[in-house]
C-alpha cells in the first residue's frame, strides 16, 4: 500500500499526490496524519482504495466517481457530497450535510451524523449506524437512507421520492413525510445492504418513510401544507 503523509504538505500537494498515484495505477493508498484537513480526495474519478488514518474535515471524497474511501476517524461537513458512485465509510461521526446531493454510490457513517444528512440526495444509499440530526433527508429526491439510531426533527421534510428506513425513534416527521408499509422486498433489501457493512437488519424494527406527495403540485384546497412549504 502506497503512503502519503499529510504533515508539511498543502492540501493541493496531498490531492496532487493522490491523483498521481492513482494515475500510475496504484489502487491501495494510505493517507497518514490527515488531522481533519478539508477537501481531501475531492473530485476523484477513478477507482482506488484510499484509507485516511485519522479524521478529515469538510467535503472529504466530495464530487467523486468511483473511489472507495475509508476514514478511520470522524468527518466534517459535506462528507462525500455530490458523488456519482463509489463507497465512503466513516468509522466515527460526521458533520452537517453528509452525503448531500449524492447521485449514486454508498456512504456509511458508523457513528452519529449532524443535521441535513442526505439533503437533496438524488440516488445512492446512505447508512448511518448511530443517530441523525434535524432535517435529515430534506428535499430528498431519490435513493435510500437507512438510519439505525434515532432521528431529530423534520425527518424527510419535503422529500420528492426515495425511501428512508428508520430503526430508532423520530422526534418529528417533516412536512409531507409519511410512514408507509414495509414489504418483503424492503426486508430483503435491508438485510442484504446492511449485512454488506456488518449490520444485522433483524435487530431493528424499521419504519419506512416516503413522500406523501402533497407537495408535488400546488393545491389551493390544501393551504395548511403549503403554508409551511412555501
Amino acid at each position: 500500500m502506497e503512503q502519503i503523509d499529510c504533515d508539511n504538505k498543502t492540501t493541493r500537494e496531498i490531492n496532487t499526490a493522490l491523483r498521481a498515484l492513482i494515475s500510475q495505477g496504484e489502487t491501495e493508498i494510505c493517507v497518514r496524519n490527515p488531522r481533519a484537513r478539508h477537501n481531501l480526495a475531492v473530485g476523484l474519478i477513478q477507482p482506488a482504495h484510499i484509507v485516511f488514518e485519522g479524521s478529515v474535515g469538510y467535503y472529504c471524497g466530495g464530487m467523486g466517481d468511483g473511489p472507495t474511501i475509508e476514514v478511520h476517524g470522524s468527518a466534517g461537513w459535506g462528507l462525500a457530497e455530490g458523488i456519482m458512485s463509489g463507497t465512503i465509510v466513516v468509522e466515527k461521526n460526521a458533520g452537517n450535510g453528509a452525503a448531500a446531493a449524492i447521485r449514486g454510490g454508498t456512504v456509511i457513517v458508523r457513528g452519529d451524523v449532524s443535521a441535513r444528512a442526505g439533503i437533496s440526495m438524488k440516488g445512492g444509499t446512505i447508512i448511518v449506524g448511530g443517530s441523525v440530526g434535524y432535517a435529515t433527508g430534506f428535499m430528498m429526491q431519490k435513493g435510500t437512507l437507512i438510519i439505525l439510531g434515532n432521528a431529530g426533527m423534520a425527518l424527510g421534510d419535503s422529500l420528492y421520492e426515495g425511501h428512508i428506513f428508520l430503526g430508532g425513534q423520530v422526534e418529528e416527521l417533516g412536512n409531507d413525510a409519511v410512514v408507509a408499509e414495509t414489504d418483503s422486498q424492503d426486508a430483503v433489501f435491508l438485510t442484504q445492504t446492511l449485512a454488506a457493512f456488518g449490520y444485522d437488519a433483524a435487530r431493528y424494527d424499521f419504519r419506512k418513510i416516503v413522500a406523501g406527495r402533497k407537495l408535488w403540485n400546488f393545491d389551493k384546497k390544501d393551504f395548511e401544507s403549503w403554508r409551511v412549504a412555501l
Binding site: 473530485g43 467535503y59 464530487m63 389551493k220
Partner: protein, 446 residues
C-alpha cells in the same frame, strides 16, 4: 362633475386584475420574463456619455483599433478564460429553455468569440460541443451535477442567487418538467419543481471559503471560480466574495429575467443593476481588489450602450440573458394565434412558465421547439453580439479609449438627480455630485 369614467390610483386596472387573479389561484402569481413595473427604476438610461471635443482626442472610428478582449479569472486560476468581447451569455437552464435554444446560444456565442453558461439541470453534451468557452454553474439544487461535466468546463460559477428572485431557489412548473427534464434532474415528471434556496453542503460565507477551495482542488486550480449573486446588499456581498477567494464576482440586478418566478419577487426585490455595479465597484476598491477580482454585471442589459455604461462604471464584462432570448426570437410577431391563445401578444409576452412559448424558446414541447431552427437562431445571436460589440467600441473610441475596458466614470454624466446620487457622477449642467454616490474615489467631484 363629469360623467367620464375615473379610476383610482390605488385600485387601478392592474391592482384589480392582480387581486382577482389571486382570488382564483389561492397563491402568489407566477410568471416569466423580467420586470413589468409601471413605475420606472433608475437605469443606465439616466446616464450619458461625454465624447471627445477639445479636451480629449477621439480615436478614428474606422481606422484605429479598440481592443475588446476580456480576461476573467486571473486572480487565482491557472487557466483564466479569454473572451474576444466583454459580452457573455448568462446561465439559463435546459428546462426553462428548449434544447434548440440552449444549443443555439452556445453556437452563437462561440461564433462571436465569447462564452455561454449552463444552468440549473446540468450541462447538455451538445452545449459543450458547440461552446467555445462554457461556464458550469454549481447551483443550490445540484440538479444534474456531474463531476465529469465540471472537469470539462472552462470556468465554474458558484451561484448563490439571481437578480430576478434573490433569496429563493429556481422554479419550474410541472408543465415543463417533461420526462427528459425530470430524468436529468432526478425528479418525478410533472412535479412543480421548487429548487432549494441554500446550498446543501454549506451555509454562510465562511463555509463558502471551503466550498470554493473544494471546487479549486477538484479541478487542480485550473478553472476560474465565479460567485454569482442577486443584487441586494452588494457592497457587503462583494467584499465577502473577495474574502472567500472568488476569481470573479457576478452581480445580477433586479431587472434580471427568469423562466418562472413569483411575480412579487420580480417586481419588489433586489436593487437596480445601475446601483449594483456602483456598489460592487466601491466594494472592490474598499478591499483593494479592483482590477484583481473581475466583476461581471447582469440584469436587464439590452444593448452595447448599457454594456459600455456598466463597463465605464467598473464592470469587466456583462452577461446577457433576456436580450439573447429576444435575439433568438422571443416576443417576435410570429404565430400570432398562439400568442392570443396565451392571452397575450408579441412584445408583451411573459408566459415562459407555461411551456407554450409560441417561438419555441422556453418550451419542452417538441413541436413548438421545431419553430426555432438552431443554425438560424445561432446566427441571430452572433449578429446581436457583434452589434453590441460595435456599439461598445463606438462609444469607447468616441471617448478616446483604445480598449473598451479603459472606459471610466469620468466619461459620463448623470441626467437625473437620483442617478447622480447613486453613481457619484456629476449631474449634467453642474459640476456637482448630488449625494455621496457609493463611495469610490471621484476625480470629477468639485
Amino acid at each position: 362633475m363629469s360623467d367620464l369614467p375615473r379610476q383610482s390610483q390605488v385600485w387601478n386596472d392592474s391592482t384589480i386584475d392582480d387581486i382577482q387573479a389571486k382570488a382564483e389561484l389561492g397563491r402568489y402569481r407566477i410568471r416569466g420574463f423580467s420586470q413589468l413595473r409601471e413605475r420606472p427604476i433608475p437605469s443606465f438610461d439616466d446616464l450619458t456619455f461625454l465624447p471627445c471635443t477639445l479636451t480629449r482626442i477621439p480615436l478614428e472610428g474606422y481606422r484605429e483599433k479598440c481592443n475588446t478582449q476580456t480576461v476573467l479569472g486571473a486572480r487565482f486560476a491557472s487557466q483564466p478564460i479569454v473572451n474576444d468581447i466583454p459580452v457573455m451569455i448568462t446561465g439559463m437552464s435546459f428546462g426553462a429553455l428548449s434544447y434548440n435554444a440552449k444549443v443555439a446560444l452556445a453556437r452563437g456565442a462561440r461564433a462571436a468569440g465569447t462564452s455561454s453558461t449552463t444552468g440549473d439541470g446540468g450541462m447538455l453534451r451538445a452545449e459543450r460541443e458547440n461552446a467555445k468557452t462554457l461556464i458550469y454553474e454549481v447551483l443550490p439544487s445540484r440538479y444534474g451535477f456531474d463531476v465529469h461535466d465540471l472537469l470539462a468546463a472552462d470556468a465554474i460559477e458558484l451561484t448563490i442567487g439571481q437578480g430576478a428572485k434573490p433569496g429563493t431557489g429556481g422554479l419550474l412548473l410541472g408543465s415543463k418538467v417533461s420526462d427528459e427534464i425530470a430524468a436529468r434532474r432526478d425528479l418525478p415528471a410533472g412535479v412543480d419543481q421548487r429548487s432549494p434556496a441554500r446550498h446543501p453542503d454549506w451555509l454562510g460565507p465562511d463555509d463558502m471559503i471551503l466550498k470554493i477551495e473544494e471546487l479549486r482542488e477538484a479541478t487542480s486550480g485550473r478553472l476560474p471560480i465565479f460567485v454569482k449573486m442577486g443584487a441586494t446588499r452588494v457592497f457587503d456581498d462583494v467584499r465577502l466574495a473577495w474574502k472567500a477567494g472568488a476569481d470573479v464576482v457576478v452581480i445580477d440586478g433586479m431587472e434580471g429575467g427568469t423562466g418562472a418566478s413569483p411575480d412579487l419577487l420580480l417586481e419588489h426585490t433586489g436593487i437596480p443593476t445601475l446601483a449594483a455595479v456602483c456598489e460592487a465597484r466601491a466594494a472592490l476598491e474598499d478591499v483593494g481588489g479592483y482590477g484583481q477580482m473581475q466583476m461581471i454585471i447582469a440584469g436587464g442589459i439590452r444593448s452595447g450602450v448599457d454594456a459600455a455604461k456598466a463597463i465605464a462604471l467598473g464592470a469587466d464584462a456583462v452577461y446577457i440573458g433576456t436580450a439573447a432570448l429576444i435575439a433568438l426570437n422571443c416576443n417576435r410577431p410570429l404565430y400570432l394565434d398562439d400568442y392570443r391563445a396565451l392571452g397575450t401578444a408579441p412584445h408583451h409576452c411573459h408566459h415562459c412558465h407555461t411551456d407554450r412559448c409560441p417561438v419555441g424558446i422556453t418550451t419542452q414541447d417538441p413541436d413548438l421547439m421545431q419553430r426555432l431552427p438552431i443554425d438560424e437562431a445561432a446566427e441571430r445571436v452572433t449578429n446581436f453580439l457583434h452589434a453590441m460589440t460595435l456599439e461598445i467600441q463606438m462609444l469607447a473610441r468616441a471617448c478616446a479609449k483604445a480598449d473598451v475596458h479603459d472606459l471610466e466614470p469620468e466619461d459620463m454624466r448623470a441626467l437625473t438627480l437620483e442617478s447622480s446620487m447613486i453613481t457619484g457622477l456629476p449631474l449634467v449642467g453642474t459640476r456637482r455630485v448630488f449625494g455621496g454616490g457609493p463611495g469610490w474615489k471621484r476625480s470629477t467631484q468639485d
